[in-house]
Symmetry: C4
Subunit: 258 residues, 4 copies
Amino acid sequence: MQQSTLVRLKEDLELKKPILVVGLPGVGLVGKLVVEHLVDELEAEKVMEIYSPHFPPQVLVNKDSTVRPVNNIIYHGKANGNDILFLVGDHQSTTSQGHYELCSLYLDIAEEFQVPRIYTLGGYPTGKLTSDETVLGVANDTKLIEEIKEYGVEFRESEPSGGIVGASGLLVAFSRMRGIDAACLMGMTPGYLMDPKSAQSLLKVLCKMLEIEVNMDSLEKKAEEMESILEKLKEKEEQQQQGYPEVKPTEEDLRYIG
Amino acid sequence: MQQSTLVRLKEDLELKKPILVVGLPGVGLVGKLVVEHLVDELEAEKVMEIYSPHFPPQVLVNKDSTVRPVNNIIYHGKANGNDILFLVGDHQSTTSQGHYELCSLYLDIAEEFQVPRIYTLGGYPTGKLTSDETVLGVANDTKLIEEIKEYGVEFRESEPSGGIVGASGLLVAFSRMRGIDAACLMGMTPGYLMDPKSAQSLLKVLCKMLEIEVNMDSLEKKAEEMESILEKLKEKEEQQQQGYPEVKPTEEDLRYIG
Amino acid sequence: MQQSTLVRLKEDLELKKPILVVGLPGVGLVGKLVVEHLVDELEAEKVMEIYSPHFPPQVLVNKDSTVRPVNNIIYHGKANGNDILFLVGDHQSTTSQGHYELCSLYLDIAEEFQVPRIYTLGGYPTGKLTSDETVLGVANDTKLIEEIKEYGVEFRESEPSGGIVGASGLLVAFSRMRGIDAACLMGMTPGYLMDPKSAQSLLKVLCKMLEIEVNMDSLEKKAEEMESILEKLKEKEEQQQQGYPEVKPTEEDLRYIG
Amino acid sequence: MQQSTLVRLKEDLELKKPILVVGLPGVGLVGKLVVEHLVDELEAEKVMEIYSPHFPPQVLVNKDSTVRPVNNIIYHGKANGNDILFLVGDHQSTTSQGHYELCSLYLDIAEEFQVPRIYTLGGYPTGKLTSDETVLGVANDTKLIEEIKEYGVEFRESEPSGGIVGASGLLVAFSRMRGIDAACLMGMTPGYLMDPKSAQSLLKVLCKMLEIEVNMDSLEKKAEEMESILEKLKEKEEQQQQGYPEVKPTEEDLRYIG
């Protein structure tokens, strides 16, 4: 069995106790939207690529017809003079075992850079269509929970009641054994489609915690685009109920706007 | 491929030939209920945690909003001056290969502590709704069978006829090669829901074998709660047959009362 | 990942270029029936046990309520002063990778004992209900094909047209790279149920090839039992078409008579 | 876990910077048809066989009733005095992890022979029934794209929009990290059946790029055979719509004509 591969794009990277912010694909793409937005706004620099046989055996095609394997990427950014590492990517592991292997690799990297704290970001599916600005949290330390509450993150007894599946949860739980504080912050989302609105709520809280300010225009624009797609979907649905012919949203309408 | 991880919470653990009692999740949660009850009543102490890529990639949320990875745990308790090890957990392996790997790890631990005997506890699905106080057994040694029969455990020719799938069976069969006596004791259960009643029958037999007495109040209470849930389910079913609207049991009603 | 385990029951086994006859479970259980019959009739002795994480995580219960893990077994028998090794078992690998791993292990054993020839036995599903005494063959050497034809084995151009899946095929193909002659002999069978009749046809051919004679009474008895089960099934089917209530064959009727 | 196995049929193979042309099974079998045709026409010689536990555990039967395991094969041919390596085979990996492992093995071989360029060939499913002579490309280098455009290969922005799954894509993307130029060339195909017509279009472009000429009669013949099968299928479909009995194409009609 081939192991996952870490490609270091900068061998001599020296950071001062950077926190690590993780936004891998998940419910509503909430975490991924937030971290990609921050990477853009802070002009963070790509420093590591992770390839894994636990990702799908797939390559993606760039605009210029070149290809790249699906991967996870670590970026380095700066805010208020502080170093921040960001972890984003195309996919999470497609296998259970791979989740454990990749989580272990990411925590090795965190230890290497003496990361004192990790925030993993995700969406919390409500199953309801109405939006909700709440940000729900869990953490691996009670003191950290008290600290984060101050920023408006809600902590509810034993919630999510079904636990958390995937990297966002594993990273928080296993970082305890490495002596790293960690919390998972979840934006409430219907959970059916990409949710830039929930991403905005989550980003606001995170910015307060990181003491930074970022322009949210592009997220706002994505939210409006999704709003308009949803409107069209609703109209079409109503038309169909009245006997109009079915009009599917075009691929253009729905594709991920990264 | 990452291996399973054993975390020792007590490095200097010295035990006198402890027996090992195993209650992992299975049919009717019978084995898990019994061992968790014993751990509580004997105030057994957590001594080892086992994490494995063969468990689901999931974390569970505690009441105080902290998280922990799903795992298996070994406790150390004392009864009549004798050491007892208990193995319980959230999950069994989700893969076939993982069952073999974890079973091998558990037997390594048993050998390390010179465990002379293992009891694995489980449920035996009858598929019938009526309860049955019988405890059925299999073992890895005919002398041991004769000894256990004395305590009211039934041994039926070639039963269970479909064999036993999972840790309870593998541990008994493979412990023979390590020179360890082992038996699997199974409480009869309808097999559809958590069965604290079957757990009580099994616990009574086990207590006789271990020459201990434990308070069974909390198991009794759980049995009553399940009884009341089943009553509600029956009523609702009858109402539905009479045209009443469907009323599902709430999650509260059915959740595992650990 | 745990490797498969070979347990040697006789450390000092010395054999004179034994042939290896393989009868693992497959279509109609034809190969398994033949080899188990030979093991019984030649009073072959158990010399090795193979355990593998690629088998189901299951134990079987003996008559006396002791248990054993599912496994594959190698027996040593003698016929006309010649050594013969037999490979039988409860299961083939449940994973693709396991098939390759176990096949490699079996060929290591064959090399260790300087096995000059391997016969793998199986069933060839015709999909028709009528029985057929033909024995079909494939081999890893054209000279061997000519030799075996003499015994009435049929070799048909490019047949089986879909190739052969599982140990019977892999062992024959990969033994070529170890310099071992090998053929796969297949009894024609409807393929729906255990087929002792097809096993008899195959056994007759094999006995000629091995220049041995064995009593076939027990196989004949099994064939009669299956005949009577099939009769009952047919009757019941006809009754049902005439509106009689359905009567399923009991588990007793259908269980494997090993 | 067993690793894939490379069998070298020629230990002392010395080649002058050969390009590598890959035609593994995929949509419409387009890539496989092209490379098998070139192997035949250039009388290329088998130099390596690859066996893998990630292929199905299956053997294929030759005309003479001998068997061989499913595999991938590397051939060596010559055109215009230049060395060419060809990679073809029965199957791609059946597991995600296996795709990564085999891709890595193939690139090791490419590095060993100082391969300067790789062309992977495949089909691009249009989902439409009409044929299309377009050859679509992606590559791992923009200069290479400019060069290949000259030969009539089309490069469309971000297409295929879903990326490429399997060896054809992985080899192109990962060869970048080994300093090897690589492109994936795809013949347009309805994608439902073997498509020798699309293979012809792709082969024409490839021959121009390799500056070779090959006889295409056998591909033409296969295209005609498929045409006639499709005609029959259409006729039968029309008959059925008119109430005629269903006549399935025989296996003979549809089998792969290698």
